[in-house]
Structure formats: C-alpha cells, structure tokens
C-alpha cells in the first residue's frame, strides 16, 4: 500500500504459515481494505519457523507512514521481528512496534482501532490492554 492510507499497518508473524494467513483473513474480514496488512509465517522453506527476511518484506508490504504494529507468537518470532525492524533501518524502524498482546485478539482489535485512524501509540496500547 506504500503509505497511500493514513492508517497504521498491521503485520502478523507466526511460526506457522497457516496460522499467520488465517489471522490475516480474520483481520481482513473485520476491516476490509482500510488497513494495510501483511503476514509472514514459517521459515525460508515454508516449514514451521520464522524468517527475518520474510518479516522484513511483510513490514514493507504493510508499510504506512503512520507506522506498523507487529504481532508475534512464540520467542523466535519476536527475536526475528526485532532483527527485521533493525534491518529496515532508520527512520522507518522507529515507526514499527512489536505488540505484547495475544496474536489473534491483539491483531483483530488493533486492526479495528487502526481502521478508525488511531495513532500507532493508541493502536499498540489498545492491543496491549488484552495482555494480563
């Protein structure tokens, strides 16, 4: 979408391509095309795992000048997402946040918030309220 919308973008990262794509489908059903959205699931061979290069491409695909909120499942997904954000480089890397929130509920509620034009900080805070 390359920043054509003012809304915050959403990226979903899971060890499983099926999980990542399934959540992206749910989010799409909720908010339609109003939010830039991309997912990365699996390692470089499409097996279970995570892939820093794939996450980087997903962040670029969901890029919005308002920022991008990233949702991750297990440990390696977070570490690889941090690596991908670093590879994105400044100034864009400062506009990407990894949310400490449950993957499905977090992504859906964040997308709903983002579709209303909320700021990145507000989108992240709303999703993170779901965390215990």
């Amino acid at each position: 979408m390359n920043g054509k919308t003012a809304n915050v973008g959403i990226v979903i990262v899971s060890h499983s391509p099926l999980v990542a794509q399934g959540i992206a489908d749910m989010v799409r059903q909720m908010v339609g095309d109003s939010v830039p959205l991309a997912w990365s699931g699996g390692n470089v061979h499409g097996e279970l795992g995570t892939d820093a290069g794939g996450i980087l491409r997903a962040i670029e695909a969901a890029w919005s000048d308002a920022g991008v909120a990233v949702f991750v499942d297990l440990g390696g997904a977070e570490t690889n997402s941090e690596m991908a954000i670093e590879m994105l480089g400044l100034p864009r890397s400062a506009l990407v946040s990894i949310c400490n929130a449950p993957l499905v509920e977090g992504a859906v509620i964040a997308a709903a918030e983002a579709s209303g034009g909320a700021s990145l900080a507000k989108v992240v805070a709303t999703a993170e309220e779901l965390s215990p």
Binding site: N43, V44, A52, G53, N80, E82, M83
Partner: protein
Amino acid sequence: MTVQAEPVLVAGLIEVCRATIAANSDHLCALDRAIGDGDHGTNMRRGCEAVSAEGETLSGLPLPDAMEKIGLTLVMNVGGAAGPLYGTLLMEIGRELRKNDEKADFSQVLKQAIDAVARRGRSHAGDKTLLDVLYPVHAALASRSPLGAIARRAERSANRTADMKAMRGRAAYLGDRSIGHVDPGASSCALLTTAICRYLGEHRPQ
C-alpha cells in the same frame, strides 16, 4: 591477539564450521526435541550451508565485511531464535573489528559482540542459552588460555547447562522440566568453538 584478514583462514573456518554442524546436526535436533521444537540441527545446517555457498566471495572480503556478511546470511537462513542470535554475534564482531581496525584485541571485540547477543535475546548468563558458553569462552580468551583449554572450557560449559532451568526461548515454557537436558544452542556453540580452536591450532601461523 591481533586479527588480520587471511583469506585462506576464513575459507578454512567456514568449511570446518559447516562440516562440524553437518556431522552433529542429528544430535542437535535430538537435544532440541527434548526441550524445544527439534529443528536446531537442521536450522544450523541450512545456515552453514548458505554461508559455505558464498565461501569464495566471503574469503575475498576484508575480515570485518566478511564477518558482517556471514552474520546476515545466518540471520536470513537459520531462522528460529538461533538465526538472529548467531547473526548478531558475527555482525557485531564485524562492526567492532571495523571500529578497531588492525589494532583490535579480539577478546574485547568478542565481549562487545556477546553483549549485543545478550541484548538481542534479553538473556543473561545462567538462563540456559548459548551465552552460557560464550561468556566462559570470552573469559578463557581474555586470560590468554591456550586454544585447547578454550575448547575444553566451551565443552564443559555446554554440559553445565544441563543443570540449569531455561529462562528464555521455547524451553522456558517447560520450566523445571527443562532441567537435566543440555541446551541445544549452548551445544552448537561449544561444537563450533571446539572446531574453530582446533583449526586455528593447526593452521594459524604463530
């Protein structure tokens, strides 16, 4: 220890690391099956093969550039948490070497790089990770231990992770059940350290 770019040395080290991981891939997967998702050996092998495939280009680069490129190749190919952790280690070694130019004391360079790995993984010594091998290896290097002693220290340190409770990574979900198993990342780190020490012992001009 002053570091100089020696193309033959870089090519040789890449090959011994690749061969060591290939020979131990099943063992690393078995360790990972006990407390993780069972793919550490496969992931590391994929990463080492990707580095090896670029071996000729890499060995022609200045050492800092070669290290950074190896790190990036590991990040892009290993996956899991090991990719960014080993990748950060190599990339930071490259950056630190560049900062220090030819005057670099390698033990200081390594310390900076290990600290960067700790930040990346938000881990500390004792969390049952590859840091539990990297810190002792650094300590041995800093006290100018001979290569054989550094390798033995790495192996002992990896074995000691069996007594630790995992605080980071997939193994942390197991809590106390992670005790009694050697950490796969610590094990691959010790295997690589041993291979590197042996190779340097045989090939490094004194």
